[in-house]
């Protein structure tokens, strides 16, 4: 199979998909580490569904769906943070409400626009065939910005994940950083739905970190391990997607799930 694996890179669409996939693997795992440690895993699911509203608007109105997804996901993230800060609602309930609300809006927009088709399907489950050159550029530009912000504030975000109040007392700007984190996560999720699909991106954010946590290592090593897991999953997932003509999001998630099960088994010893 060794020769065959190299063969897939002869296709330009595969080169694009791989490039986009690798960037997304890095972004999803790095941001996922902070999200998981803050017990905020479900926000990725919610924002992914919100991003679908953007995709729906994009498809129906003829704008770039990826751009629209980024914008709507950011707005949704801000609404979630605002609700969390200003109303005494349970965080997980807010996420559940926003998730179903977004999906309902997306479905209505798509229905009214008569756009229930394959193009929408690819946004739900990811597709290696659909990554355009423009998409790669968008993913690279926004992705670099998002990663830059995460690395810039990595120490602060780690401290907040450990204990938000103690971090606040030590002078860290909690509100600002919470908004920043959800904004960056919203951008990353919106960018990822091209390759992983909005119904499956949550798994790529959460599972690499959860798997890495099983090995009980320090923060830096855990982050690196999570990154490695994400990259392996995306690479394997894309190769399977190519060979078996399956939606790439599904094959990526199954790959990362396999890594999770292996991690559980190995760390139990």
């Amino acid at each position: 199979m060794g020769i065959n694996v190299l063969e897939i890179f002869e296709y330009e669409f595969m080169q694009r998909a791989f490039l986009a996939g690798m960037i997304i693997a890095v972004l999803a795992s790095v941001s996922g580490t902070f999200i998981v440690l803050r017990r905020y895993s479900m926000i990725s699911e919610t924002l992914a569904h919100s991003a679908l509203v953007g995709v729906a608007v994009g498809i129906v109105a003829g704008y770039n769906p990826l751009w629209m997804a980024v914008i709507v996901a950011i707005i949704s993230a801000w609404i979630i943070e605002y609700l969390r800060g200003h109303f005494s609602l349970y965080s997980d309930a807010i996420l559940a409400i926003m998730l179903s609300g977004s999906l309902a809006i997306a479905v209505i927009i798509v229905s009214l626009g008569g756009a229930f088709n394959n193009s929408l399907f690819s946004y739900l489950f990811g597709s290696i065939l659909s990554v355009s050159k423009e998409d790669v550029i968008t993913i690279f530009v926004f992705g670099s910005l998002a990663l830059g912000v995460l690395l810039l504030y990595a120490k602060e975000l780690y401290f907040i994940a450990y204990d938000e109040e103690v971090a606040q007392v030590s002078g860290i700007k909690i509100k600002f950083l919470n908004f920043l984190l959800v904004t960056v996560v919203a951008i990353i999720i919106a960018l990822s739905i091209r390759v992983v699909g909005s119904l499956l991106i949550g798994a790529l954010m959460v599972i690499p970190t959860i798997s890495a946590l099983q090995f009980k290592l320090g923060f830096f090593k855990t982050s690196i391990l999570s990154l490695v897991f994400a990259i392996i999953s995306v690479a394997c997932g894309m190769i399977f997607s190519y060979y078996f003509s399956l939606p790439s999001g599904a094959t990526i998630v199954l790959s990362v799930l396999s890594i999770f099960i292996l991690s559980l088994a190995v760390s139990k010893k």
Partner: protein, 256 residues
């Protein structure tokens, strides 16, 4: 640099806190000066934790004024001068990916600029904090694998890493065995006596540290200040008035 003795570290005037119409604290005024060791006692629900949270800006007072190092709370920026060890300190998530070094290093975070590298000064501060709390040999251990007493010292070292002038501890010793607690108390005493760090300590164990502390605050909606803690503790009316557990007095007697 030692803080000017004239300016209290905490200067609180007529502080009240009410929630849903219920008065938790009313009309609290107090001053805490440099290098004092202060214990805060009082019944559960009496408002000890709320008082400390207001001093730290975590809860907002309904009325009254708080000044820290002479500045109004909202204008105060030098938070690294204050080390905070919260109630749940020793209950760290067992899966949290952090070594003792990772956790203690957090104490340096707020003094960093963007992209700032760890400087020699940071390293020195983290090492010295670990030495003070006697956890240097645990440096590379995962926080989740430590005992309650060890975690307590780690969390305290994190607070010390910012080189604070005040250390505020809110009953950090729940779930910690007696030997570890006594060791912790002697470390606190040393911080106060040798390093001249001001300590504000909410505790149930005031009998054990009665010899170390300079002043005693009793909080039960109102605040009573006592500059002769040992005398106050042996006073029967005090325990009846504030509903302090009888074992405090008991401990004290046994300690001497």
């Amino acid at each position: 640099m030692p803080t000017n003795f004239k300016v209290p570290i905490f200067d609180v005037k007529n502080l009240s806190y009410e929630i849903n119409g219920v008065n938790i604290l009313s009309n609290i005024s107090l001053e805490i000066f440099n290098a004092q060791y202060i214990a805060i006692i009082g019944p559960n629900g009496g408002g000890k934790t709320t008082l400390v949270r207001m001093l730290l800006g975590l809860d907002k007072a309904s009325s009254g004024e708080i000044r820290i190092f002479g500045k109004k709370l909202k204008d105060f920026k030098d938070w690294y001068k204050i080390g905070y060890v919260p109630q749940r300190a020793s209950h760290v998530d067992a899966n949290f990916p952090g070594t003792v070094l990772d956790i203690v290093s957090m104490g340096r975070t707020s003094q960093k600029g963007f992209f700032a590298k760890t400087t020699e000064e940071d390293k020195e501060a983290v090492d010295s904090a670990m030495q003070k709390m006697d956890i240097v040999d645990l440096k590379n251990k995962m926080i989740g694998t430590l005992s309650g007493g060890q975690r307590q010292r780690v969390v305290c070292a994190r607070a010390l890493a910012s080189k604070p002038e005040v250390l505020i501890l809110d009953e950090p010793n729940t779930g910690v065995d007696a030997i570890s607690q006594n060791r912790f108390y002697s470390l606190l005493k040393e911080l106060n006596k040798v390093q001249k760090i001001t300590i504000v300590f909410i505790t149930h164990d005031v009998g054990v540290i009665a010899d170390d502390i300079a002043r005693l605050f009793t909080v039960n909606q109102k605040l009573t200040t006592c500059n002769n803690p040992k005398q106050a503790l042996s006073c029967k009316e005090m325990s009846e008035l504030y509903g302090i557990d009888a074992h405090l007095l008991h401990n004290h007697k046994h300690g001497h």
